[in-house]
């Protein structure tokens, strides 16, 4: 689109070493920005502290769904193998006596309770993760920067988004410049 107007989307600052980005992150954190991020090729330890992030709570979701899987297994096995009433017209169960055990015997349910618990826990962790980090998102203004391709190779970046309340073209740039980056870029996004 030839007539598309552009507006600033984010500032991108590049660093060479882990120490440099950790130091810079602490400064951005202390300046009070909220809508900013560090981009690293691998999970860098110590950055939670440097960015002032709260601990992740994804485990709560995994635990709840894992327990739900266990409950579903109990309900499924009891319904189909221990009782003979027809719920919601899906077909009645059939009490089975195998090896002289009572139809609702608990020990033989354990393996399936365990497996369904794990299965639901796994799905909850996967979809919970994608939901929390809001992926898939294939289009992000940051990809407009050619330089950013090194973020998955060997360079470290800090991005401060224009959506942040403290974002200001000059002051934010000055803040980033004070952190000794090797490169600064204002990335723009097309306005539709």
């Amino acid at each position: 689109m030839a007539n598309a107007t552009k507006k600033p989307a984010l500032y991108l600052a590049e660093y060479e070493t882990p120490n440099a980005i950790a130091q810079a992150a602490m400064k951005v954190r202390d300046a009070g920005y909220k809508n900013w991020d560090c981009h690293t090729p691998y999970a860098m330890h110590g950055m939670d502290e440097a960015m002032g992030l709260k601990p992740t709570r994804i485990g709560v979701l995994s635990f709840i769904f894992g327990m739900l899987g266990v409950a579903i297994a109990v309900a499924l096995i009891q319904y189909t193998n221990a009782f003979d009433f027809d719920l919601l017209n899906i077909g009645a169960g059939y009490p089975l006596i195998v090896g002289g055990k009572p139809p609702g015997a608990f020990p033989s349910m354990v393996p399936i309770m365990f497996e369904l618990g794990i299965l639901l826990c796994g799905f909850a962790t996967l979809f919970g993760l994608l939901g929390i980090i809001k992926l898939p998102m294939h289009n992000h203004p940051i990809f407009a920067s050619d330089r950013f391709e090194a973020a998955t190779d060997d360079k470290y970046f800090i991005s401060i988004e224009a959506g942040d309340q403290k974002f200001d073209l000059d002051r934010t740039r000055a803040l980033l410049e004070a952190t000794n980056p090797t490169y600064i870029e204002l990335v723009e996004a097309e306005v539709l």
């Binding site: 193998n81 365990f114 992926l135 950013f148 998955t152």
Partner: protein
Amino acid sequence: MSYDAPIKELGETSLLPEGTTANDITETIAGVTENAAPRGWWFLFLLSLSVLGAMTAALAYLFVQGVGVWGNNAPIYWAWDITNFVWWIGIGHAGTLISAILFLFRQKWRTSINRFAEAMTVFAVLCAGLFPAIHTGRPWFDYYLFPLPNQMDMWPNFKSPLMWDVFAVSTYLTISVIFWYVGLIPDFATLRDRSKNLTRKRIYGFFALGWRGAHRHWQHYERAYLIFAGISTPLVLSVHSVVSFDFATSVVPGWHTTIFPPYFVAGAVFSGFALVMTLMLICRSIFKLQNIVTIRHLDLMNKFMLGTALLVGYAYAMEFFIAWYSSNPYEQWVFFHNRLGWGQLDSKGNWGPLWWAYYAMVFCNVIVPQVFWFKRARTSVPIMLIASVLINIGMWFERFVIIVTSTYQDFLPSSWGMFHPTAIDILTYLGTFGLFFTLFLLFVRWIPMIAIAEVKGNLPGAHPDMHAIQAHDEAPDAVGAPVPAE
């Protein structure tokens, strides 16, 4: 020095050669998917594809004719099909062990081999799942295994270990695929960002889900990865325990033992490590990855194999002790006559006909791995290649011995029989190698076979030294100046 650097006082050294940079790692691993395939790859791929085709023909014949085309018959209703199932699924377990259990134990050397082993897990479980799916000869009725409401009001029997197997194996496959894929997301992003042409960029970009290496993502990602490792660890132990319940809950002599779950799990890990070793040695030399999978990694894997070989050897010995100690003549018959071949238990003084399978198993699984007591053997590529292949053969024989020597002569001499594999049996088994290697070769060609992001995280100085930064910033005149690199 940051906290995850090698501790020199303990004699720890860096896992990768000195001077390796993050960019070297990207180039080496991503390069495999970008450069033209070596001629050896094409040769192996076409060979595997042909074998896969042969398996398809064997399966088509099976479906048309029924399971009579296999050698299974009274009294040996289970033979090669379940032997192959247990063997393949055991192979898969090393992948989960390397990716999950070693992760929980913070064994950083795993990063060079975990992706590879996880892929092997997924493909091995697919090969394993094939056998239960086809062994009835009517795979189009397989949906009966799942508790689907139907007009006959018929439900699965959840007290059957075979039903537990259905849940255990399908959960295992699902979780292994998810774990593998989650690990791959950052590496797909690396491939996307290196792509020169648009098709490549779109395909890798699609699977990378728009990953941009943001630390706000890494934070949750790392915890999710830890949870996957945490749930995969009991899962892998449960899967092979459930597989062993198929046997242990029966009353057949030689199967009805409580040692089976740990014995099967140890054997599974053992065989899986052996196959990872075989494949890694080949890929490492074809794709020139010696700097990332070093002799040190191989040495550690050999130690693992030695450890699990001792566990398996202990289980073999304990089975004999219990057979003797139980004073149960049926147990003793299976162990001493059918397996060990001792003739004095037979009134005619004959040796059992399958004794050689037992000795092959003990030789490959217990005697061969003892070479790994010696550092020279643990660091010699030809020795470990031969040993790992022998171990896999031995582990196949282990399952064959358990299954066939227990059933061909059990309680009633009037119902004794013998098992002879047919050509279709052999073709189906060999065919699964076609399936496995076809998938595996596609994997090494198109997907980063080593976890790029995880290996980078193990480089010296890969993480900021927070203590140095704080100490530095507390000195008032130094604020703002960069902390010197290590």
